[in-house]
């Protein structure tokens, strides 16, 4: 007698969760109407975190590329948005072109840094970010060391501008999470995880390692560019030391590690944790970052699968499944 076995990706939990998450997104989209301005600011921060974490997870979690230089593309996105707005184009319409600009610039950079892997790749990305930062400070057309304020928003009332920024941030966060989810569900996800666990084995099994790493790097650069453009919109000012700050990399690393590397849900949880920590501990200044760094070290050494890794193992949940489950056919 042969057992009837079914291989499925979706479970009842996952279908239910997809419905719930669509409702959450719809609810979040309605926030400016229902709650107005005060609720927007913290949510903008949280959604920015989610987009950043999701993007870094695509790099480090799925493709084994621990970049600590994604601030290079945040900065490029912010400066690209400034240049677009300066030419009289509406800044909100400039977000997507800014993201594309960052992705295009990342192509030749990828040709250099993707020759390295592991820690060498990590430091090379730091160098790239430093080069872009110095280049910005040496360019008088983008304000040099003092930076530039973003033009083109004078026609908006404060309320409308805030709400538009909120919706744009929500859109970028949803695109990041959904984009990474849909990308890793394809063959790309399987290939990328093979590359991140063993490049040589993956290559010998026919995975086109170079293309996988390139795709992950360029997509992540584009998403970082979009977030950079959003940051320029939120702060209305682009300044090299803040927009190229390595702090973004520290945040991304922390969120992904705490939440769970290589899962879709983990980075969202990590973003919530970082948001909570920042709200409660940011008054302690440097101590807050000592705790962030210490937790990153501790989680890597003791609980490398992060919160979601453990939760899904113990509870058997997978809200946004990327693998398959084997079960008895009903």
């Amino acid at each position: 007698m042969t057992a009837q076995v079914a291989v499925s990706r979706w479970s009842r939990t996952a279908s239910g969760f997809t419905g719930v998450s669509l409702l959450v997104v719809a609810f979040l989209a309605a926030v400016p109407y229902v709650f107005g301005g005060p609720a927007e600011q913290p949510l903008i921060t949280l959604l920015t975190f989610i987009a950043l974490a999701s993007m870094w997870n695509l790099l480090a979690g799925f493709s084994g590329l621990t970049s600590f230089g994604q601030q290079a593309y945040l900065g490029l996105g912010a400066y690209a948005l400034y240049l677009i707005a300066e030419h009289g184009i509406n800044p909100f319409a400039g977000i997507i072109p800014a993201a594309i600009a960052a992705a295009v610039i990342s192509l030749p950079v990828a040709g250099l840094v993707l020759r390295l892997s592991g820690g060498y790749f990590a430091v090379a990305t730091l160098v790239v970010a430093a080069v872009f930062q110095i280049a910005a400070t040496l360019s008088p057309s983008v304000g040099g060391t003092t930076g530039v304020s973003l033009p083109g928003l004078a026609g908006y009332s404060d309320v409308l501008r805030e709400a538009l920024i909120y919706w744009a941030t929500l859109a970028v966060a949803v695109v990041s999470v959904a984009g990474v989810y849909l990308l890793v569900r394809r063959t790309f996800g399987l290939d990328a995880r093979a590359v991140s666990s063993d490049q040589v084995a993956a290559a010998s099994a026919g995975v086109r390692v170079g293309r996988i790493r390139l795709l992950a790097y360029v997509v992540a650069a584009g998403l970082a560019g979009a977030v950079g453009a959003l940051i320029a919109l939120q702060t209305l000012y682009v300044e090299p030391t803040s927009v190229f700050s390595i702090q973004y990399s520290v945040d991304m690393l922390f969120m992904v590690l705490i939440g769970g590397v290589g899962t879709i849900e983990g980075p969202i949880l990590g973003a919530l944790v970082l948001f909570g920590l920042q709200e409660t501990l940011s008054a302690y200044g440097a101590w807050y970052l000592v705790i962030v760094g210490g937790l990153a070290v501790g989680v890597t050494l003791i609980a490398s699968r992060g919160i979601w890794g453990y939760a899904s193992e113990r509870l058997g949940w997978s809200f946004l499944p990327i693998g398959y489950q084997v079960g008895r056919e009903s």
Binding site: L114, L138, V290, G293
Partner: protein
């Protein structure tokens, strides 16, 4: 004459870069770990020198017999507590752990020492200089350069002539075979980490005496050290010295033309070497395979 002067000053500066970089190179060569906190550990060495020399009221050189063993002990402890464990957890973990350590160190230093830039008391050596033809050379820069050369020579001799060196080379070549022939690799790793941190701390003392340092100086220090290692070629100590000299000369010569472009030129030199000879200028094909990511696979 100004150009000759720039090249000489650049070489002297390059010696300092090589001194920071040799620990990074050694740790990667033996343990396959890129310690992203290496620059911060150098800065810690400078702060420890500051604490000791102001507590004892002596120039920082006098405190080296205390400082260097302490730094060695820190390296052994870090290897035992963090690096060794991280290395057993795959390829991502060492990168994440050392980066987290770097964030912790930088912010602990800010808490403990504020973000004011500091300098170290170098005694009479800090101001002395001598004439070389028509060039004026600072004794401090000369001492830093000669110390770097001496440290690299001692390391190279220790690696090629002593039984410790044989164990280290065997472990670096093939961990499993080294274990099979009876080498206890954990003590080897611990001693290498100790030497790496001690050389970093020594470099930190020179950086702090020649210029100033602050809690966040570690990241830039790491970048320069890393560039020296890659330009020179991974796993070759003489290559690291050559890489450091190339960096120093580039920085000072370009700075002679326009100070704003000095650091940018160093980074561009690094990226250019990465494009043309990704394995560095003085590397064997073995080391290229170690860092080369997907050259063959891509």
């Amino acid at each position: 004459m100004t150009w000759v002067n720039s090249v000489v000053q650049g070489m002297l500066l390059g010696g300092q870069y090589a001194l920071i970089a040799c620990g990074l190179s050694l740790a990667f060569g033996v343990m396959r770990i890129v310690n992203l906190a290496h620059g911060d550990l150098a800065v810690c060495g400078a702060y420890l020198g500051l604490v000791l020399s102001s507590a004892l009221g002596v120039p920082v050189w006098v405190t080296l017999p205390l400082l260097l063993p302490a730094a060695f002990a820190v390296g052994v402890a870090l290897q035992w507590l963090l690096f060794g464990r991280a290395l057993r957890r795959g390829v991502l973990a060492p990168v994440l752990v050392t980066f987290g350590l770097s964030v912790m160190i930088e912010n602990l230093l800010q808490v403990g020492a504020t973000s004011d830039p500091r300098g170290l008391n170098g005694g009479s050596l800090a101001l002395a200089s001598f004439h070389l033809g028509s060039l004026v050379v600072s004794w401090l820069f000369m001492t830093a350069f000669l110390t770097a050369c001496a440290v690299l020579t001692c390391l190279q001799l220790a690696l090629s002539r002593t039984s410790w060196g044989r164990k280290v080379r065997a472990t670096a070549d093939d961990l499993d075979t080294a274990r099979l022939v009876g080498i206890k690799v954990q003590p080897v790793f611990a001693s290498v980490a100790g030497v790496a941190v001690a050389t970093a701390a020594l470099a930190g003392v020179f950086i702090g005496t020649i210029g100033t340092f602050d809690p966040l100086a570690g990241t830039n220090t790491l970048i320069f050290a890393f560039e020296a290692v890659v330009i020179g070629g991974i796993g070759s100590l003489w290559g690291t010295l050559a890489g450091g000299l190339a960096l120093g000369v580039t920085q000072v010569v370009v700075g002679q033309i326009n100070q704003d472009y000095a650091v940018l030129a160093v980074h561009l030199l690094f990226l250019a070497v990465l494009t043309v000879r990704p394995g560095g200028l003085f590397t064997s094909s073995h080391a290229i395979r170690e860092i080369g990511a997907q050259g063959a696979a891509g």
